[in-house]
Symmetry: C2
Subunit: 198 residues, 2 copies
Amino acid sequence: MGKSEITREALLDAALYEASLSGIARLTLAPVAAAAGRSKGGLLRHFPSKESLQIAVLEHALSSFRHYVLEPALPMPSGLPRLRAIMENWLSWTERAGLPGGCPILSSQYAFDDRDSAVCAHVREAWTSWQSYLRRQASKAQEASQLPPGLTPEALAMLMVGLKATAQMESRLLKDDDANRRALRLFDHLTGRAEPAN
Amino acid sequence: MGKSEITREALLDAALYEASLSGIARLTLAPVAAAAGRSKGGLLRHFPSKESLQIAVLEHALSSFRHYVLEPALPMPSGLPRLRAIMENWLSWTERAGLPGGCPILSSQYAFDDRDSAVCAHVREAWTSWQSYLRRQASKAQEASQLPPGLTPEALAMLMVGLKATAQMESRLLKDDDANRRALRLFDHLTGRAEPAN
């Protein structure tokens, strides 16, 4: 990487950290420049507008998400074993990625659902693509008879997003250290493993 | 109600509408004053700070939530029948309440989980109290043998928050008109009714 790319990476790391705390929607140039130890003018050379910074941070978050959530699950057989690994990785990825404020991709769901902007289109595209992947894996699970009768691929994908959302709420807002474990047990219970979902 | 209380109600209605679109965390005095057709000075007489406005709007949202979600479910027998009515009402309440941007209480989960402020304490209190109510009803369902074996009260409460969160994401961000119906069928499927969860 050249010097300019290294600077860009450092700025994006600082911005992603900020986005974890405040959300991508509330990300503005000045605090990111301050956190990265740069001038706002220096930041503007890399990201000429707030929107371009928000889109770049979303892409940076997605890249980190793939690294911590998806890639470690790819060696697992497709279908339910891979979905279970994804669920487990997804619940804990921000801790492993050093993002203290939780998942900025999750909070972006709500922050961008009423607007028509380039950032909004990127958020929608990211979620559409992730939902499609989950549904495809859930279809493979269904074809391999790994799902309980009546649990459709669409429903399983919906359930996984919901478990992540509620686990983040219970662990971050309500400070319940047991929430991620409870969500994973609930996933196991609802996909047909025998453990009680407590 | 006196004139001052009527004005306060009108301001809160306008603020709640704005909060549905932008979130309580991004609510500021000037746009609310403009939406209510008042001066910022007039608004400041009722809400002397952004924080006091945000807390009042959260309380206003909770009051509407109780009216549209909880109260119509109270005639149902406690336990699973009441939880099922709550789930159905919860999925659709913002449409019935005329809030075009979805549930501002749901989006407040993420917006206030990293801060230590009076608004944050109110958001945490609201979610703690709602979670306790859901768990209590789920315990009654369990005592009445209305739950499938292994589904604990804590897990059922978690599931309900998750279904609301993911249904809002799929319907609002991904514009899927079938999301609320899918979430309710998934609730039925996972609590032991016979319908396939598609």
